[in-house]
Point group: C2
Chain length 237, copies 2
DNA sequence: CACAGTTTTCGCTTAGTAGTCGAAAACCCC
DNA sequence: GGGGTTTTCGACTACTAAGCGAAAACTGTG
């Protein structure tokens, strides 16, 4: 195990996603400097500091670009570590997924802007793969967690929620089914209020919110469950 | 963004799991040196080399301890980066899950040994958390992927498979149900052969294998699916 | 103010999948 | 051949998702 003691540099970066104008978009930053100048990359791409873990680091660095309070969710995606992922230096990256709810429009610096995830510009390094990974994670989790809370505003009608899910998933979902699936899981709760109908009329829509205590239901959907009935008699040997 | 240029050191390590004597066990190494000597830690804990990505690194380092060809599956878990996770140095770790199928018994060095995951000895640093993470990932994926291939031998009877699943999940599963769930997903295929019955007799069990092309079915189980029927007429606006 | 147009909501039905139970099948040994 | 043993299979139940259409609740117009 004769490893050289050369420590590799470590950056943290995040694909920040938001549903804007009914389309899932990612916040990208146009590189001005040296390698891959002009191309777009995920924000931020800061180095990991000596006294922080990667979660702190990404939040600290995001705070320089976006108001952190407007981030509804941040989670680790994966390590990207191909030796040649950057032409200039050897740099290992821990990538994150960041989500911004649709009702806010965070102020972002001049050199950053939003791009639809399915029409990305020329990206720097492996940032396209990172965005893809983020999109994939969001999609998967919409299916089996309550992560919808992180893309939706605090209160919403079912059809609004439907457009958010549709945008994030990339296909239209049925409002009826969405309503029922989420309701059954107990993650949706009616506020009692209704939203005023649009100018064309129509029945006023009931308002809902995601149930409190809600961050990440995850699990409880396992498919080979522990037995209920007592066939555990013939124990497993 | 005035980060110091001090690069942090980066290690890769793996929780290697195997079902042994009907119990899920993890391969641990007893530390001889400096910090936390005497405690048990995940193998290996080597530094990331300058010309390799983390996946290569973990396989290279595992190869020093276990025959890599006997590893049926390796996947990235998460980055562990708390500044104080080791008392001696600042070290960021990329943790992996490694799986060994039950029909092999890899030769391991003197200072390593297998331990049941639900009765771990005193572990070094944050290695208990890493093992827990690995166990959790395996459990979850048994539910919705074909990752069973990685803990089971190439051919097996349903009851054998059942004991493997039960050991890994931590509770007994029904053989009938396991059979059908996996069969429906098309991941199980009969070899046509049967296993000889035990000394007590009994109907000879049919042999199965995991269907080829099989690594990681993952997905295809999404719960808010794209619409089949044409209610996509009222497109999403 | 009745009526057409619109949007949401709800109930009914179908389909697909998981879990439980018990009986039949296929073997051993005596 | 009979008792004991293990596997396999079919039948039944339960639960959840999906699809469809009718009813509810509103706006605006003639």
């Amino acid at each position: 195990m004769s490893d050289s003691i050369t420590a590799v540099e470590h950056e943290v970066l995040a694909a920040v996603l938001q549903v804007r104008t009914h389309v899932l978009q990612v916040l990208l930053w146009q590189r001005a400097r040296k390698p891959d100048a002009g191309r777009w990359s995920s924000r931020p791409g800061g180095r990991l500091g000596p006294d922080e873990d990667v979660e702190h680091s990404i939040r600290r660095q995001l705070a320089e670009k976006v108001d952190v309070r407007q981030l509804s969710h941040v989670e680790q995606l994966s390590v990207f570590s191909a030796p040649d992922r950057r032409p200039d230096t050897r740099m290992v990256a821990t990538a994150f997924l960041g989500l911004v709810p649709s009702h806010v429009d965070p102020a972002v610096p001049e050199d950053t802007s939003w791009h639809p995830v399915d029409r990305l510009p020329e990206t720097a390094f492996d940032h396209r793969a990172i965005v893809e990974r983020a999109r994939g994670r969001l999609r998967a989790k919409l299916s089996y967690t309550n992560i919808g809370f992180a893309i939706a505003p605090p209160e919403f009608t079912i059809s609004e929620l439907r457009t958010h899910y549709s945008a994030a998933l990339g296909y239209t979902v049925s409002a009826t089914n969405l309503q029922r699936v989420l309701a059954r899981r107990g993650v949706l709760e009616p506020t009692g209020e209704t939203a005023p109908p649009g100018r064309a009329g129509g029945r006023p829509a009931a308002l809902f919110r995601f149930a409190a205590g809600g961050l990440e239901v995850t699990d409880q959907f396992a498919v080979l469950r522990p037995p209920a009935g007592p066939y555990a008699r013939s124990s497993v040997r």
